[in-house]
Symmetry: C2
Subunit: 283 residues, 2 copies
């Protein structure tokens, strides 16, 4: 934050660039046991949530990320009833998951209550989901939860921050072994998978971890405004369901849900990867 | 540019944000009759060309833009022999166009010799195309050229800067009327069409101009690192050829060309637009 006359936040990327956003005010700032959590009112992008100085969501473009992390697995699965979200403390993923009529229960396991409370107070656009009676919100470590749960889920969504700080254990093979066990026979897991331009090694490692466990593993892409580097990815892994071959586009078209980013064509298109990503994942 | 110890360039976006790139040195800077032209050596993105303080290309990611502006129309057209580029002074588009064996002649009309000369001297990665004998480089106003030319082209590529400064006349209907006349019966024109998040009005206007002239008009997307806002677009307009229905994917697969971004699946996927773009173009 600079002087009062010219307020901005600056997100510094390790790849020799940074992005500055003009802000009106800092609405919330607290350093908790896991990370520093801040909410700003920005000039061009609505409310913005930052964990440890990294932009998590902005009201202006959160629809892109939340559409793509939710509707791709939920429209790939023929009838998702039980959904688990690990992370996702702002509530945006739960909001989109709970729009699907088939969903009977959504468990959300967020390690950091500070994120939930900050969003409840300052970002109702995403935290509105916390009022939904089908949501079971648990404030605990997702790694421990997934190790110990006896429940089976149709869809598990790993809506994590970057693989530094509290999310580090979410990027390893023990964790995904437990995810596999907690999935139903036709279960799907989707995970936040960073930037293909800047995080090729991490993407490849996550892809390999999933390939050792699941018969079907793919990566899919999206682009929003506030994640630096343009193109960003999710992984999709499943015991049975192929994300495009088993996808019934007519279900999206017949659905009464309206989206700002997702549609049946974007679903298929997002799995078409540029050559440099294919080369990285192949080698 | 800040102090010597901590050098950076900062691209300021009118939408309340800016992007800073760490630089090693400023290699070229000159204010010409059309615009200020600069070349920097950056720390994470190779050489970078800026016109009037806006990033035009970086060596790190220029392959995305140049693949998508060139190979989409050239693989849509069954046999492109004559290609016209308006703008494109760095040479990257011509480089990709001239990789197609069917191309017998590529005319490039760049208004600003300063851009060409700066790139010739400092960015051989893109300006290598100026050595190709099939390239006819004209330093003149593309608007006047297209008004007066008697030639017919199979593909015309409008590789322009933003619709401010010298590129402003490239975003109007007189210009596209002349483009139409300079296209062969199965001709295709592709144009740089800005950001769908930030330039919705401009995208809609360009789409409408093209729709008044051409029976087939589509928009397609790509994402690179250095164009702010994540997602960016091109328009595709043609007298006869549909960019996906008439596209023969096997031509790409059989071709001996290798790409870093483009492939047959990306070709089709890039025309699948997110809902907010469809709504904007429909209304």
């Amino acid at each position: 934050m600079s002087s009062e006359e010219n307020k901005y936040i600056e997100e510094i990327n390790p790849n020799h660039f940074s992005v500055k956003y003009d802000v009106n005010s800092l609405d919330f700032s607290e350093k908790g046991p896991f990370q520093k959590v801040e909410v700003y009112s920005t000039k061009g992008h609505g409310k913005m949530l930052l964990n440890d100085d990294l932009v998590m969501i902005s009201e202006r473009d959160e629809f892109v990320y939340h559409d793509m992390i939710s509707h791709v697995p939920l429209f790939s699965h023929p009838c998702p009833k039980k959904v688990l979200i690990i992370g996702g403390g702002d509530g945006g993923t739960a909001r989109e998951v709970l729009r699907h009529e088939s969903v009977e229960k959504c468990v959300m396991v967020e390690i950091d209550e500070l994120v939930v409370n900050a969003c409840k107070k300052f970002i109702p656009q995403t935290s509105i989901s916390f009022k939904n009676s089908k949501l079971e919100l648990l404030i605990e470590d997702g790694v421990e939860y997934i190790k110990n749960t006896k429940e089976k889920f149709d869809v598990i969504i790993i809506d994590s921050t970057d693989p530094i700080g509290p999310a580090t254990p979410l990027f390893n093979s023990d964790f995904y072994g437990n995810v596999y066990k907690a999935l139903s026979d036709d279960g799907i897991v989707v995970s936040q998978a960073e930037s293909p331009f800047y995080e090729q090694k991490m993407q490849k490692k996550l892809f390999e971890i999933l390939n050792e466990l699941f018969p079907i593993v793919r990566m899919y892409n999206y682009s929003n405004i506030t994640y630096p580097g343009g193109l960003w990815s999710f992984t999709f892994a499943s015991k049975k369901i192929h994300p495009t071959k088993d996808f019934d586009a007519s279900r999206v078209e017949k659905s009464e849900l309206e989206f700002e980013y997702y549609n049946a064509k974007i679903h298929g298109a997002s799995f078409c990867l540029p050559e440099f990503m294919l080369k990285n994942l192949r080698n």
